[in-house]
Amino acid sequence: MRSARRERGSVMIEFAGALILLSAMFTGIFQIGYTFFTYSTLVNAVRTGARYASLRAASGSASDPQLAKSVANMVVYGEPQPAANARPVVRGLAGDNVELILGPSTATVSLRDFGIDALFTKIKLAGRPTVTFPIPNGGSK
């Protein structure tokens, strides 16, 4: 009885120590997992946009002023003309983050000024992901 009573406080301290360590570990695991998952979603979205841009450029839309907007929508919503209530593939992603560079025979799409918001930290992506697609038949026809 005496010894159980004397050990009662030390159990609480041990538990508190373990809880801090465990919650820090779980948070870290979550952040890493979420960041990789989100990054792969972004790579896929940018790839989809770059492919769309290259096909549009190949069919003579390279000088279309609306092309950049359509490409940005393709990246952000997965659809060049999304419904009014469409949600971005990644929370916080907007058309302003999408950059389209059309070369004579390539279409490059990249994200700028975007970071992955992983709950407690924000991971900045310096110009990544960037995807370049060749324009079929080397450009407008």
Binding site: R51, R56, S59, G60, G78, E79, P80, K141
Partner: protein, 120 residues
């Protein structure tokens, strides 16, 4: 005397922990199953949109690609995870034109895919 007083305790503890553990396990299996079906459906939808962009537009055939994995299924084929044709929404906005594309969606699952039809 002491042994006798704590004999039932382990049974109670085991029951308590087993309940929590089983709940956790069943929940994990449920979430895993849900994610698996979602990914499989998203893959089908993507395949169907791609197929639609590569062939002359045929909404019923595109629906078949989602439901059966092939455009012309056998009569005995069973659809994927209990889906029916009305669950799959197919359209080709912007066609004919430079922004011609095939869209395939399963609104009930929040899955959507757009495939541009390259007409260069």
């Amino acid at each position: 005397m002491k042994r006798r007083r704590s004999r039932g305790q382990s049974l109670v503890e085991t029951t308590l922990i087993l309940t929590a553990f089983m709940g956790l396990l069943v929940g994990m299996i449920g979430v895993g199953q849900m994610l698996f079906v979602r990914e499989a459906l998203a893959d089908r939808v993507h395949d169907a949109a791609r197929w639609g962009a590569m062939n002359a537009f045929d909404a019923a055939a595109i629906q078949n690609v989602v439901l059966y994995g092939t455009a012309s299924p056998a009569g005995s084929a069973t659809p994927f995870v209990g889906l029916t044709a009305p669950d799959v929404v197919v359209a080709n906005p912007g066609c004919p034109g430079v922004d011609c594309r095939v869209t395939v969606a399963i609104p009930g699952h929040g899955i959507q895919s757009t495939e541009p039809v390259g007409n260069y």
